[in-house]
Amino acid sequence: MSPDWKLILTHMAGFITTVLILKKFAWVPILGILNERREKIKSEFDNIEAGKADIVSQEEDYDAKLRDIDNLARQKLTEAVNEGQKIAAEIKADGQNDAKQIIERAKDEAERDKAKAQAAMKDEMVKTTIAAAEKIISSKMDDEQNRRLISDFIDGVEKA
């Protein structure tokens, strides 16, 4: 039970040696590794956060670009529709003009044909009248015969 100074000094020396050895080969390296790992994890987390911010920024850029593309497409579409409407209006107007001209031409031709027909009928009437007059002159004319001649003339006109 009484203290033995030699033993005490031996134990002190043993303990101090252990402390020094463990300091060099355990505490400093292990705490260093722990710090290094902590820093690495922190840096990884920072990188992840930075990456997230970058992704958010890129996402915003893409959204903006998509919005621009949408706007451009809508604008192009509107322009195309307007152009189409314009072309359709022109085609319609041209068609209407053409149709009008065709109708005009048809009317003119009809007028011309009508005039021709009237002229032909007139000639025919003249010829028929002359022929009838020649018959009247050449034969004895009575009232009944005149009526019959006139009636034949009128039938001839109606047939013509």
């Binding site: 039970m1 203290p3 033995d4 033993l7 005490i8 000094l9 031996t10 134990h11 002190m12 043993g14 303990f15 101090i16 040696t17 252990t18 402390v19 050895i21 463990l22 300091k23 080969f25 355990a26 505490w27 400093v28 390296p29 292990i30 705490l31 590794i33 722990l34 290094e36 790992r37 690495k40």
Partner: protein, 273 residues
Amino acid sequence: MIPYQFLNGLIIASSGAVEKTAEAAHGEGELQTHVPNLLTFVFGPEIAEHYAVTFFAFLIAAVMIVCSFVVYRRRDMIPGPLQNVVEMLFEALYDLVYSMLGKQADRYIPFLGTLFLYIWFMNLSGIVPFVHAPTSAINMTAALALTVFFYVQYIALTRLGFLKYMHHLAGEPNSAVTWALVVINFPLHVVGEFIKPASLAMRLFGNIMGEDTLIAVMISLGVVSLSFMHSPVGIPFQLPFVFLSLLLGTIQALVFTLLSTGYIMMVLPHDEH
């Protein structure tokens, strides 16, 4: 030699030792207060009595050093099982010391951490078969306490300087009244400085010696209780105390380390912690 006792392989003693213990109990009517250790069987009780503490203390230190070498050589950012355990212990101890010393923990953690691990392993070695707990000897605890004492004095003198340390020991007087009290304060603080290692040593020694004695007595009691039927195995009465020893061994190591940390903290310049 028949393999013998200690339930669940926690504490095993040789049949010879059990028989000796039982014979002693029968012949002298007393219970044994020491469990025989490895040196007792190899070199006999006299040698064991003189060298067991030193032998097992050095053995434990050697195991710690070997473990640190292994971890040092195989250290990696992705730790293996041993490095994992060591890192876990080191980080827990560092956090503990950091909570008291702040940034100064980096400087003192090798000493304080090793102190805790050394005492802890020595305390727990008492429940390992054939091993004697070195901290159940006053020489060992006194050596540790004196090391702490000298280390604290060294820190005080180097960090505070001689005059400031004397000022600190005088109770840091700053008025006429406190200067007048220096004649009382200074001797009290000086005596307090010497009492600190004494209290550290006696507390640890008393607790661990008490636990070891209790376990030895319970083992002896278990053997004696079945000696009438010449059983080679006794009743493991010591089992609850083994678990108690696990708990108290850890607590005592923690108390010794925390008090040492407190002593260091008290002599550091106040703005540094």
